[in-house]
Symmetry: D2
Subunit: 252 residues, 4 copies
């Protein structure tokens, strides 16, 4: 699958390294805001052996239509920022290129644009694109459905300098009707990321835990999404939509 990446920060680099080494995917180019690294190949920048072109392209003054014509791809994976979609969205959708966005937050204007684009192509958006976290969300909501009265609290732990509550924890809390006061926040040392959903029953406790080892998890998540979008008709999708078919399978 010919792939392009938008963004080449820490997350983008981790995702690129995963795509470069995946035999089913070919990283064609990377679009980034900053001009540094322009013209170099991702494999060379990251020190990874790969035949993928992975050419770094600066976004300033770029003609998206031209880039997409000269370097066609099947799917675009966006790890840049909330403005990114405005840059490549329309051009990509008009060519039927599938869009996978992992941007952590979009405003109304971007959400509106996503809906627009989804009329022409497959558009996927998830603020957290790791398989593990999305599974946690799904599995948690399911347990709450079975036992609506169970006590639920969340503990999220991250490195000392991480600002604010983890977006993932906030999203989990919203999905489970957990009060913000019941999101317990730990900031200590170099903890990469740990989320725990605690289900307190009268005589037993269930704990669903997700531990991040490193950002490459985003890359594997993006790949999982790309593979599962392959046969989908145009429209707007989130991670939960991709998990449904496995549920159906699971019932039979």
């Amino acid at each position: 699958m010919k792939t392009a990446l938008i963004g080449f920060g820490r997350a983008g680099k981790a995702v690129a390294s995963v795509i470069l080494t995946n035999p089913d995917f070919k990283l064609e180019w990377i679009l980034r805001k900053r001009p540094s690294l322009t013209g170099r190949s991702a494999s060379e920048v990251l020190g990874i052996e790969s035949d993928d072109p992975g050419k770094v392209i600066s976004a300033s003054g770029v003609d998206m239509e031209k880039i997409l014509d000269e370097n066609p791809v099947d799917v675009i994976i966006d790890f840049s920022s909330e403005e990114g979609i405005h840059r490549y969205g329309k051009a990509a959708a008009s060519k039927g290129i599938r869009i996978i966005s992992a941007i952590s937050h979009y405003g109304d204007s971007e959400k509106s644009l996503l809906r627009e684009l989804s009329k022409e192509t497959v558009v996927f958006w998830s603020p957290n694109i790791t398989l593990g976290i999305n599974y946690l969300m799904f599995a948690s909501r399911f347990l709450q459905k079975i036992a609506p009265w169970v006590d639920i609290e969340i503990i999220e732990q991250h490195f000392k300098t991480k600002d604010g509550i983890s977006g993932t924890a906030v999203k989990l809390a919203e999905a489970l009707d957990v009060k913000p006061a019941d999101i317990n926040v730990v900031r200590a040392g170099g903890i990469v990321g740990k989320h725990e959903v605690i289900f307190g029953f009268p005589y037993q406790t269930v704990r669903l835990i997700h531990e991040s080892i490193s950002r490459e998890a985003f890359g594997n998540g993006a790949i999982f999404v790309a593979q599962n979008l392959r046969d989908k008709p145009k429209g707007l999708y989130n991670f939960e939509d991709l998990l449904h078919p496995y549920f159906n399978d699971h019932l039979n």
Copy 2:
């Protein structure tokens, strides 16, 4: 719901205490092998305030048909041993009484009898009847379906004197294709019971944990089962069958 209990050992007592205090259930009588406590009421034996009769009946020389005629019930909950079903099974089924068995192990003859009885009434059997453990099993198998290649190991921890591998851990291992060597067994102090299913991804780890606080969890599990069997047609059921409708709900 009028309820009868078979067995009054540690598990049976814990279950009885939960039923006695649940307003939707009325414990009518308890059948046990040992003659001690015969004639006394469960609430009095356990020191729990309740109007439920909960009369303790000795199984020796008892005429099940007569007991069921004189003390009719809607459901029988079995926490005795694998012979129990032979005692009350046919009589209960012939009267359309629902049977809920939590016996940890049945041989072929008992399994055969269960299938027989299920032609006449609703029969439920689960070696572990806690909601938490059955949820863990279901949620684990679902994650494995999404990520068939993920590494899975199991850790089960119990009090020092517990013999052999936890039946729950064995069942989890079978369901997930985990090699017996990958069931890690800890025996220490007074740990009531802790099961952990570890899913090792390249860049993230998911841990599904169940901790037992006390045996009353069996009681709440039996109650959950009784409530969810209410509208079911006759047949043979296990815990997973009861979780399916919640999945269907979850998808829509």
Copy 3:
């Protein structure tokens, strides 16, 4: 060792059950505020086989001197409330009886009285008398000494209805200079009690965890204390004083 117990609530009962079955200790009597159970033996009330007298005595209108003369003991273990010490303290100290108090909170007047009494006998006071929690406190402070700059946070988890922050967590926080905001409080289901001290280093995390299984832990803690006070001269002691000799041992 002849022992008396002050208080017969949930903690007191759990402690009594442990002492009754310990061959090195003989429970002579129990003093309690409420008049119920007066005259009965603890073993009979708790349904535990033991030859210990364990006679329940009502505190109202009681003459402590007389009780201590007629039923002499070596040590008194107090699990009642903060007024208790005023009742038995002076009489016990004058007879050189060792006092072990596990009262969670004392005001200035009680603390003053303890110091008074410690001039005549061995007086021990610890708000939490379990070996595990006191070990956690000691081990935590030691790690902080080795790495004064490490990030420390505390997570305490208890059953849904537990009011206020765990006194143990508050004490841990004070000992480690952890800000109250960094004590994370979870209230869910029937969790008996779990305390975790998290030490966040840049590239590793150390977690010291204590899990309560049941209140009998207080009994074993009281026994540990009684055994370790045996050779001590009169004075005022806390749990840390009892752990020091093991440290000295540990160094050599």
Copy 4:
């Protein structure tokens, strides 16, 4: 403190990166077996900003005396292999250079050499040089001293491809008299490293846990050791020796 590093594999590189950015240490040179990277500076190879020379020197045909004369250092940190000590040991000791070895295993000949060298200089050796693991070992042995009869088991978890039982777990087991069968080994996904020592009491459980985030922890451990060896007289030291003074402090 002028520092030299022996070995530049994954551990060596992680340690180098920590030393390069520590203002109290200056990485002068790195001796390695393989000829690649010879002549380059560590900061340039690792892409880290630092003024430290950190010159990579190939060990083949090298004259240690000459290297040490031309590039004097205060301390040598060894992360190479068990043969390393034979290369630099005598030359370093004769110049009174402190030796810090983190080699995971030495045979009798090397141990003998270490003792020899310790007559002339300060020699430190620890198979695991992280502060966290050594603390765990010390704290575990202390708890066992307080409660000699407590049940102890160990769980070690690592990435799928790690061969054999963790050396750290083996060392912990030996120190605590834990039977090899009670070392539970989990191999799954990308788990960097997690060691848990479980202390099972009848009514409470204590868990001491160490989680590795990344190899830079070795670097911080080596730095801790270097700082704590500063005032020591010549002799042979291990990590426990360095923790003792903190214990003494802790007692007073």
